[in-house]
């Protein structure tokens, strides 16, 4: 009971207190909603505009999920090929790095020239999510215990046996770590691209709603859309965290209770 209070109740109370303070400050100072809306007004806006906002949330979530799935599939496949053929890694890893270090917000307007806006948003989200999956999985595949590798060699294991029975399981914790980073980044990539698309007057996602509401000085709606983005990000993180714990629960140190 004591630990429950310390671990759950206190953080929740602190969180609530912050919102209460915000509400009180807005009311006492009579701050107009177009400067800073109170949390209650943001909540009300969420309910009133739910039809529009939920559609946009769905658009953003769908693109994020699709981008993450693509990043996972392509990232893992590439990492496995890199591990089998070193020349492939030497040739293509630099390209992956270039894509990673170039800010997505600078690439997005260019992609919008060539692609329709939802495809452009998908590509942007994919580009930022793909690198952590690739880099972490490649590192994990190369990190298999050297003595276990000796053992596989001693028993005449084929390359694919080594990949499936040794390298892939060794890489699993690394891959899952990359996936958790990629989940958040996919959302950020999608949002950044939607802002760019929104600036061009095209789009349907949550970030587009923010841009649109900003043009109309509908500040409460901007906050409402922002809150939905945060909640979506937290949900993605929690989901991947649970997945990671389930996958590693029996054997990895990271999933053990102290």
């Amino acid at each position: 009971m004591k630990t429950f209070i310390a671990q759950r109740a206190v953080p929740a109370l602190v969180f609530l207190a912050l919102f209460a303070a915000w509400e009180i400050i807005v009311r006492i100072n009579a701050i107009p909603p177009y400067v800073l809306p109170a949390p209650s007004l943001i909540g009300l806006t969420l309910i009133e505009d739910w039809e529009t906002l939920s559609l946009s949330l769905w658009v953003t979530l769908r693109i994020t999920a699709l981008a993450l799935a693509l990043a996972t599939g392509i990232g893992v496949a590439l990492a496995m090929m890199f591990a089998q053929w070193r020349w492939l890694e030497r040739s293509f890893f630099p390209i992956a790095i270039i894509l990673q270090v170039t800010p997505i917000i600078a690439i997005a307007p260019l992609l919008l020239v060539y692609l329709d806006s939802s495809t452009a948003v998908l590509v942007c989200a994919f580009l930022v999510a793909f690198f952590p999956v690739l880099a972490n999985t490649a590192l994990g595949l190369a990190s298999a215990d050297t003595h276990l590798r000796d053992l596989f060699a001693l028993y005449g294991a084929t390359r694919w046996q080594e990949m499936l029975l040794l390298r892939a399981p060794s890489a699993l914790p690394y891959f899952l770590g990359g996936l958790r980073i990629a989940g958040g980044l996919a959302l950020i990539g999608a949002i950044a691209a939607e802002i760019a698309a929104g600036a061009a007057g095209r789009g349907a996602g949550l970030a587009y709603r923010i841009v649109e509401a900003g043009y109309r000085l509908n500040i409460p709606r901007m906050f409402a859309a922002l809150a939905l983005i945060s909640v979506a990000g937290i949900a993605i993180y929690l989901l991947l965290d649970i997945l990671s714990r389930l996958a590693l629960r029996r054997w990895h140190n990271s999933s053990q209770k102290a």
């Binding site: 000796d150 001693l154 005449g156």
Partner: protein, 250 residues
């Protein structure tokens, strides 16, 4: 009657890529059924000799001659247990068979029998992290034995274990060898361990490694706690220590 040794290393030399000479002119016969210890200081090339015999590395000079003309089935036990943490004990011991294409069902009798032999029959479903250091080493030995190797190579397998666990494993290892009759080549830096376990000891010189002195450990009688207290044990330990000091130039 002299029979051909199981394998012979003839003038074997190995130089690492960084120029360090690990072995120079190593000559060694391993006779069938014996328990041969390679005793020497750390970094003297004993482990390299094992890796060459296992085929995990290739010598630059000399040759390794096998009685059968080719390398027989070999088991290898490393200094650390080297288990796959994501796999159960059963699956870890299955590995050598699995790599040879033996299905789980077909491998099961051999796996259970081998685990029973090392005293881990009840732990098939456990994961390595749930076992103590000594038990993990038993799993590692079971994995090396599951293919019934003609030759078991052990690279300081008990060096990281506490004294009591090590004594127990020493005793059980001799049991298993007596039952299965394989040849054991055992690398260690412990004089007492080598004398207790071996029928013969090769004392390595400082790097570049070769064998400075051969010692026979006399009695073919039972190796038990009484043997540890016997004058012959103590005398052989003394001889081995002296030989070690000699080759080290102390």
């Amino acid at each position: 009657m002299t029979t051909l040794p199981l394998l012979s290393l003839r003038a074997v030399g190995k130089t690492f890529d960084n120029g360090a000479i690990a072995l120079r002119d190593l000559n060694l016969d391993v006779r069938e059924g014996e328990f041969l210890s390679l005793l020497g200081p750390s970094g003297c090339g004993k482990s390299t000799a094992l890796r060459l015999i296992a085929g995990l590395a290739t010598q630059d000079r000399g040759e390794i001659v096998w009685r059968e003309g080719k390398r027989p089935e070999i088991g290898f036990v490393f200094q650390d247990p080297t288990l796959m943490p994501w796999a159960t004990i059963f699956e870890n011991v299955w590995l050598p068979l699995r790599l040879r294409g033996v299905s789980r069902a077909d491998a099961t009798p051999a796996i259970l029998e081998t685990l029973e032999r090392v005293g881990l029959g009840d732990f098939t479903k456990a994961f390595p992290r749930e076992l103590s250091g000594g038990m993990k080493m038993r799993v590692s030995i079971a994995r090396a034995l599951v293919l019934r190797p003609a030759l078991l190579l052990m690279d300081e397998p008990f060096a990281a274990l506490d004294e009591i666990t090590r004594l127990k494993l020493n005793r059980d290892l001799l049991h298993v060898q007596a039952e299965l009759g394989m040849t054991v080549l055992f690398v260690t830096h412990s004089v007492y361990e080598s004398v207790y376990l071996s029928s013969r000891i090769g004392v390595f010189t400082q790097r570049p490694g070769k064998i400075g002195v051969h010692l026979d450990v006399a009695p073919p009688g039972p190796r038990d706690e009484a043997f540890r207290m016997s004058p012959i044990y103590l005398e052989t330990c003394r001889n081995a220590s002296r030989a070690l000091e000699e080759v080290m130039g102390l």
